[in-house]
């Protein structure tokens, strides 16, 4: 565990050394503030909106998805690819630390960064509370959804960076995989009704809608967690595979 923490510390340190951390945080705050402004505008209308205002922040808008599939590749792309390119992977892989510890350390560092970004949105909750009576149920489940989908996507990003030696390539791979996952919604239009059931259970838009409405469906939770574990396992495998190359 100490070794994992050492890796997390180093990665976070390197995040804040480069401008990337600040650019990501700034655009995150900018875009979410804009969304929140719309939320407030909607609320100040006489007729109350049909959906919970915070739901817009948790997947209810195009911006949420855009942020997710751009921010996560940017956060994760450096983690493995840069070690390969600079050759430091050689010192890392020959230290007495397991491939699993390396992957978990890298994963946790970007996950913590992601959580930090989302923690900033708690400010909105407080602002909202001063306006109105807020129903905390959907907000809590919404945050749970954000955390789970973040873990899933970050694991995809980690896998992509572990198999690349170029950061941009890593970002493009993870961006593409995430874009396909998010775009799954559209397949349900194409496919016949008998397949709809299956697509719906992995339709991320529908899953986030559930979370933001306060519905915690175990199938959704299991799906996201399984996805996370799967991509982390693939990352560990890819590290091992490169030794056999």
């Amino acid at each position: 565990m100490n070794k994992v923490i050492a890796i997390v510390r180093k990665e976070l340190w390197q995040y804040f050394f480069s401008p990337i951390a600040y650019i990501v945080l700034a655009s995150f705050v900018l875009i979410n503030s804009f969304v929140f402004y719309i939320v407030l505008a909607a609320m100040s209308k006489a007729a109350s909106p049909p959906i919970s205002p915070m739901a817009l922040l948790f997947g209810g808008t195009f911006f949420f998805w855009l942020l997710l599939i751009v921010m996560i590749p940017v956060l994760t792309m450096r983690l493995g690819a840069e070690e390969r390119k600079s050759g430091t992977i050689e010192t890392l892989l020959t230290a007495p630390v397991s491939d699993f510890e390396i992957v978990i350390g890298k994963f946790l560092s970007s996950f913590l960064f992601y959580l930090l970004a989302w923690a900033l949105t708690l400010v909105y909750v407080f602002i909202l509370k001063s306006y109105d009576n807020v129903d905390f149920g959907p907000i809590l489940s919404g945050y749970l959804g954000v955390i789970l989908i973040g873990a899933f996507f970050i694991s995809i990003g980690i896998w992509a960076t572990m198999i690349s030696r170029n950061q941009i390539v890593a970002a493009i791979i993870s961006f593409s995989v995430m874009a396909i996952m998010v775009g799954m919604t559209f397949f349900s239009f194409i496919l016949g009704s008998e397949k709809k059931e299956l697509i719906q259970s992995i339709d991320l838009l529908a899953i986030m809608e559930n979370f933001s409405k306060g519905v915690i469906d175990t199938r959704n939770v299991i799906y996201l967690l399984t996805g996370t574990v799967l991509f982390l396992a693939l990352s560990v495998k890819s590290l091992e595979a490169r030794r056999w190359q």
Binding site: I7, S18, G87, A95, V97
Partner: protein
């Protein structure tokens, strides 16, 4: 300490190294010597577990690097060939990170960091960004990392490459001083480096081990027999006749003589025999004036190059 067994590594269909066998005992300083592309780095990557072999295995203090990698790697401090470092960390941060992933923490970590910084003389740059350090310092930082958890076995891939003569001298002195508490394996393509530091040599060429033994043994194996040159004042056929009567002469060849009425030969005696005396007495008996006689020693460098080029011809 270390045992490498029948290591073969393929890069695609190309052979990196083939059937490498050797062992290293505690306290030895072993030099991997070979030209570019010989397979030195590949061998080091196999024994550090950075790469796994297609065949064979490596045991470090009895632990297989494939079956039990985390344990086996605890015994190793490794300086890779290009000495890759995180440019955006400070020296101190780097050592701290490396110490932690090697299992150090708290007071012990701080103490080890101070210790290796002093040993490798990097205290001046400890607060600097690695990206701003000069090559000589970077090499020391790499060595400091290799030393931080005090591993019994150090593996240094071309530790003096790209350094100026003064730095080369300092790094060599450092490695020599390390040999008191550590077993060291280093690679180089410079023969004099092996002569300066190592107690044992592995000659690697084209992915195979060509020689494995002490420095002295290598010297004599490389030099081969000493050659003797003579110049006689007589016709060529007479000189040849004289030399063929000496049984201890393995072979001789005619050289171009510079002056008329003289003849010159290059002679190789049998293993371990100095034939100069016999040649003298033979000349004395036959009353052929001996104008010149001297032995030519090949330098190690020449011998090394010769061996390498002979190998190429054989293939």
């Amino acid at each position: 300490m270390l045992k490498a067994q029948e290591l073969t590594k393929l890069y695609g269909s190309k052979k990196g190294v083939e059937n490498i066998n050797f062992s290293v005992e505690k306290g030895e300083i072993v030099g991997f010597l070979g030209p570019n592309g010989a397979g030195k780095t590949t061998t080091m990557r196999l024994i550090t577990g950075y790469l796994y072999p297609n065949e064979g295995d490596v045991y470090i203090e009895g632990h297989s690097i494939i079956e039990n990698p985390s344990k086996a790697r605890e015994f190793i401090g490794y300086l890779p060939e290009s000495n890759p470092l995180y440019e955006d960390l400070k020296v101190k941060e780097y050592l701290e990170f490396r110490g932690r992933i090697k299992g150090l923490k708290g007071k012990k970590l701080q103490q080890k960091m101070d210790e290796v910084a002093q040993k490798t003389e990097i205290t001046d740059v400890i607060g600097k960004l690695i990206g701003n350090c000069s090559k000589g310092y970077r090499q020391r930082i790499g060595i400091a990392d290799a030393l931080i958890n005090d591993p019994p076995l150090l593996i240094l891939d071309e530790p003096t490459q790209g350094l100026d003569p003064a730095q080369i001298y300092h790094i060599r002195e450092l490695i020599k001083s390390l040999s008191e508490g550590h077993t060291v394996i280093l690679s180089t393509h410079i023969l004099s480096e092996v002569e300066a530091i190592c107690s044992k040599v592995l000659l690697i060429h084209k992915g195979k081990i060509h020689f494995d033994g002490s420095l002295e043994e290598m010297k004599s194996a490389l030099r081969g027999r000493t050659q003797i040159k003579v110049t006689l004042l007589c016709p060529e056929y007479k000189g040849a006749e004289l030399l063929s009567q000496i049984h201890n002469i393995e072979k001789f060849a005619v050289e171009k003589s510079e002056e008329e009425k003289q003849c010159a030969f290059t002679i190789e005696g049998k293993e371990g025999v100095d034939v100069r005396e016999e040649i003298f007495w033979k000349c004395f008996e036959t009353k052929i004036p001996l104008l010149e006689i001297y032995s030519v020693k090949r330098t190690l460098e020449e011998a090394f190059l010769k061996m390498v080029s002979e190998e190429e011809e054989n293939q």
